[in-house]
């Protein structure tokens, strides 16, 4: 695959929830190593956009290609593609009946068919990296929200994904735990991971994003580098949105 080709391409994507047109002709491409932060008011379709990339939300029309291949229909090929796209959810979604370590090794062992000892070693290294190696044998419910979300990031990274999707990863966290999760995400971004991040953390968007994408009412309204977007937004919708969130 040519290095210059974008990793994720959405072309004229449309999606309806019943009568609600949640994605309207959305086109977006994400380069390898690029960090794209998607912001916008709630209900603007940004989560749906993020979830459409690994087909957790099927779309009604348009095309999505990942690494040069169109998203396959439900089945083994789709499972294989998903294993290459890490996903981090707002509500963590750690497997409640498995320990933190088992959460991280499940995918490598069952999907990648790695030897348990190999998977375990890498899982411990990842848990160490996100700062919760000492919690490896606990169950998710025994951890704080911030620790759970860091474990969820380790679980996604254990698959050695080509890209990571973050669907409002800090929205369910207590304020004092937001920083520890954003730190992990920032270090990932620095290392060159391709990331699509749906978030309300404007600080993260400013310092870690290569590009900010602003969505409203199912449309991709504006995209620009963070300095440009936050400094001089072009659309009225973006100006309005920013004036509401940046004044306090």
């Amino acid at each position: 695959m040519a290095a210059g080709q974008p990793l994720i391409v959405l072309d004229a994507v449309n999606k309806w929830f019943g009568p609600l047109h949640v994605l309207q002709d959305v086109s977006l491409s994400v380069d390898r190593g690029e960090v794209v932060v998607v912001i916008g008011p709630s209900g603007s379709g940004k989560s749906t956009l993020c979830r459409a990339i690994n087909r957790l939300e099927p779309i009604n029309s348009g095309t999505i290609t990942f690494d040069g291949n169109p998203l396959p229909a439900e089945g083994r090929a789709l499972a294989r593609l998903r294993s290459d796209v890490g996903m981090v959810f707002q509500s963590f979604n750690l497997f409640a009946h498995k320990t933190i370590l088992q959460n991280v090794t499940l995918g490598p062992i069952k999907v990648r068919k790695e030897r348990p000892s190999v998977a375990r070693d890498r899982a411990m290294a990842l848990l160490d990296r996100v700062g919760i190696a000492s919690q490896a044998d606990k169950y998710p419910a025994q951890l704080s929200g911030g620790q759970q979300q860091r474990a969820a990031i380790a679980r996604a990274l254990a698959m050695q994904p080509k890209a990571m999707l973050f669907d409002e990863p800090t929205s369910a966290l207590d304020p004092e735990m937001v920083g520890e999760v954003l730190d992990v995400m920032t270090s990932l971004a620095r290392e060159g991971m391709t990331m699509v991040v749906v978030t309300h953390e404007m600080g993260f968007a400013r310092h870690a994003a290569n590009r900010v994408v602003f969505m409203a009412d199912g449309q991709l309204v504006e995209q620009a580098p963070p300095d440009e977007f936050f400094g001089s937004p072009k659309s009225e919708r973006a100006k309005d949105f920013l004036s509401k969130i940046l004044t306090h």
Partner: protein, 235 residues
């Protein structure tokens, strides 16, 4: 009440056969019910239809009718339930291998009937597992079957254990019907024999039969209470 002492061997033998019938039927019902539950949530519509049809038929038919079809319908179709003569199992459960098929028919009737209820108990357990669990499993690339096996079903089982216990207790009591459909020597049939063939007094005999059933159902009920309490603490 002397009959309980005089014919202790009859009661003990009846209890043992009923226990075997219930153990094998419970295994059969749990297997059938799990398969049916998986079919009912399958992404393939025809699988869902088959699962739903199975539950609709067997949850809504009286057990007596199911036993009737097992005992008279299967032979008419030329089946003696021989597929249940599983090598190894027939050495532990000798009735499974004998030529008279009524033990096997009783297992089939009880399993198929109870399986429909097991299916719904497991499905309610599956619904109790938050949708995010299955989503996270799909997101790391697990297939539908792997998702069920490693993520959804282990959690669904825990949520379903109390309703499943009630289903199995009901099945144990339902097994009393087997004696009226050709199965000689299980608990209720032993009671009938003692009264009709040997002229023993009815009430003491059936007190004995009741005690036999209680010996199986009460400990099972206590076990489920215990599991439920442990689950409540763990939450």
């Amino acid at each position: 009440m002397r009959v309980l002492v005089d014919h202790f061997d009859v009661f003990a033998g009846g209890l043992w056969l009923t226990f075997q019938l219930c153990l094998l039927s419970a295994i059969g019902a749990l297997l059938l019910g799990t398969v049916a539950a998986v079919m009912r949530i399958s992404p393939i519509p025809p699988m869902r239809w088959v699962g739903a049809a199975y539950v609709t038929v067997f949850r809504n038919c009286p057990l007596t009718i199911v036993f009737f079809f097992a005992a008279f319908g299967l032979p008419a179709l030329g089946s003696n339930g021989d597929f249940l003569r599983i090598p190894g199992l027939t050495t532990i459960f000798s009735r499974l291998g004998v030529d008279i098929p009524y033990f096997r028919f009783a297992i089939i009737a009880l399993s198929v009937y109870t399986g429909a209820f097991v299916c719904e108990a497991i499905r309610s357990g599956i619904n109790a597992v938050p949708a995010g669990q299955a989503e996270a499993a799909r997101a790391i690339g697990l297939t539908f079957t792997q998702n069920l096996r490693f993520v959804v079903l282990p959690q669904a089982w825990k949520a379903a254990i109390v309703p499943l216990g009630s289903v199995i207790i009901a099945m144990i009591k339902n097994s009393a019907l087997a004696g009226f459909f050709g199965l000689v020597g299980e608990l209720s049939n032993s009671g009938v024999n003692l009264t009709s063939a040997l002229g023993e007094p009815i009430i003491p005999v059936f007190i004995g039969v009741s005690i036999g059933f209680l010996i199986m159902t009460v400990p099972l009920g206590l076990l489920i209470d215990h599991v439920e309490r442990r689950r409540a603490v763990a939450r």
